[in-house]
Point group: C2
Chain length 396, copies 2
């Protein structure tokens, strides 16, 4: 087993981009990540391509990876189409990391791409519901166009539990949205660049009580990609080095008992062990804020806050830029956008950009350790998939 480094990265702007195809989005980041790595397409040994909603939105249900990569001049190599709902891109990253870590390959490309916007918004909302057990939740045929957003109903239910148990307030949820809007305003690739106040978030259109629109991640189109290389491979750029210190994927268990660790907690614990650090050593985190309320519970799952203290952590300002442990400096899913098959690699784009010291107005000074947390799907009380990665910069 050997060290793996992120040597190239690229990301499109996130947002509604009805005029751009999967090929156009993925082509931009495949070409961009190779250029950032100072490499040509024929240097690649394999590619791992994440896409979740191709069948629902664009009809490219199969071999999307080969289709988009050929349009970028990449062919003749093993291509794996990987899907784990909103954790698709980090699952692709995990497979690519493993291939290099094990010595099977020296240089691989990981791409995440998603088109979610559809002329009929009901099609987009219904499609997202397909990340659950469709037979059990919706019955034969699955979610219907025009049905409500299953996942926002779910997040709202979890948010109500937080409110009722006194673990958090609606103002805490709003504080997460305000923070991530602020961060997004500093990220030129983010879907939403305008700041909001707590009052504006609370009085915005209600999606499902207690969640308002800015507390919910939007429908987005976009792509992100990284090139991974064996650390022992000769360098092709002068970028500051960033290594993958841990790559962990797991799935939830059926009907977890109260008090059982969530798949997020399990994945984070394994990642800390693999990286040889603890949550107190981190300088930066990107986590899966599909809803503002989720950010607070993930603080607790990954050890940034003690159980029940997630609300207090955001109120303290510690997770805002300039605070002790800035979280979702990219704007997170809430502000940067959440094209589901691309999100995991967009988190890595932000982590590596921070560790390279290239984050500009949103730079976390002295960032050396960064963690990304990406969750996908929901079955029987837990996520279907959770991936946690740890990255180390400042590698000599």
């Amino acid at each position: 087993m050997r060290d793996v480094e992120v040597v190239g990265l690229a990301m499109t702007r996130f947002g509604k981009q009805m005029d751009r195809s999967l090929k156009h989005l993925a082509g931009e980041v495949a070409t961009g990540a190779l250029a950032d790595a100072g490499l040509a397409a024929d240097a690649l040994d394999a590619a791992y391509v994440a896409n979740a909603l191709g069948g629902s939105i664009t009809a490219q249900e199969m071999v999307a990876g080969q289709v988009v990569l050929r349009s970028a001049g990449i062919d003749g190599i093993p291509v794996f189409n990987v899907e784990n709902a909103c954790a698709s891109a980090s699952s692709a990253l995990h497979l690519g990391w493993h291939a290099v870590n094990s010595g099977a390959h020296d240089l691989v490309l990981c791409v995440g791409v998603e088109k979610m916007s559809h002329p009929d918004k009901g099609v987009s909302l219904a499609a997202i519901g397909r990340a659950a057990d469709v037979e059990e939740v919706f019955g034969p045929g699955g979610p219907r166009p025009g049905s409500r957003s299953y996942f926002m109903d779910l997040y709202a239910e979890l948010a109500r539990e937080s409110l009722e148990s006194g673990r958090a307030t609606r103002e805490d949820f709003a504080a997460v949205a305000v923070k991530n809007r602020h961060h997004g305003s500093l990220n030129p690739l983010a879907q939403f660049g305008v700041e909001m106040t707590v009052e504006e978030v609370l009085s915005a259109r209600e999606i499902v009580w207690p969640l308002t629109l800015p507390m919910c991640s939007p429908i987005s189109d976009g792509a992100a990609a990284v090139v991974l290389a064996a650390a022992e491979r000769p360098r092709t750029t002068d970028h500051p080095r960033v290594r993958v210190a841990a790559s962990v994927l797991t799935s939830g268990v059926s009907f977890p008992a109260a008090g059982d660790p969530s798949s997020s907690a399990i994945a984070a614990a394994r990642a800390y062990e693999a990286a040889g650090i603890g949550p107190g050593d981190l300088h930066h985190v990107e986590l899966h804020d599909a809803a503002a309320s989720a950010e607070l519970s993930i603080y607790e799952s990954i050890g940034l806050a003690a159980p029940g203290e997630g609300g207090a952590l955001v109120r303290s300002g510690a997770t805002r830029l300039g605070g002790r442990i800035p979280v979702n400096t990219s704007g997170g899913l809430l502000s940067k956008g959440h094209p589901i098959g691309a999100t995991g690699l967009a988190q890595v784009y932000e982590a590596v950009t921070q560790l390279r010291g290239h984050a500009g107005a949103r730079q976390v000074e002295g960032a050396r350790w960064s963690l990304t947390h990406n969750a996908g799907g929901w079955i029987e009380g837990d996520n279907a998939a959770v991936a946690v990665h740890v990255f180390e910069g400042g590698v000599a």
Copy 2:
């Protein structure tokens, strides 16, 4: 890198099974493969689950692996949803093999499952077309329900080229169908158990000239699974040992020039090199006979016949049970059926059954080396993905 063995396997009957769900089909083989391996679900380190048409047929577009495995009592482990069109299951196998081969895992489950039958057959036919570049081939929105079968049009075009160049005759295509029907009649899990004559095949309903119905693989539902283990792991059954001698995946190149090797030829050459054998050493082959005409050209690609000699090989009887190198003893895709996300592992089911000496009436006597060839999707003149595996039985 260490030896990997197939220690458990299971397969459902293939055929139209409108009353069975993805969970039902996959649950049967996940449970069956574990039982065949003498193992409990909690022994598994990871699972690789192939499904291609979930989004089109059942609406389970995402996290199908977690959904079907939880229903079989398997949870809390990394699950990867893998898709490469008709080569999905062998792509999942390749990833599982690599995880054990590299030492990352000791014991993994690979599952392929597909529901293709739909109350509206036009939905099934249109869905299969999504294994091409849908934007380029069909335009926005992709193939429409009720459209013709894109892949049978494609296979027919390639078959016409064979006829026009004099490399094969329609009788040769019929001979493949007759052989595979004969083999299928000996396989209780096959979709079609009734033998046909050359005359019956030639006079059957035309699908696209020169292909008639029995020359085309059918719409099928089914599942197959294997358990892979590190060879050094203590044995849990008395099954004859079967090791994975080679596992190769590749993709085609854009617009290959005449005379360039196909992705099938490239993958086979790499597999022979990895296994340290040549085509003359094989005792049994399962290959991707999605159309009868394709079987002949794959004979040539994988080195069973010289270029242009595929027709002569089937006419010689060498590829029939009892011949020099029996091909598709399971009945192949033509007779056994072709639930596309399951096919690659169903080929492995047959290969390992042969190498264990458990194939009953269709046993190839003394079989020690078997090769499986699985191809998926079509873009710009070649398959989007091709996987070739070589298995060795009789391992002490």
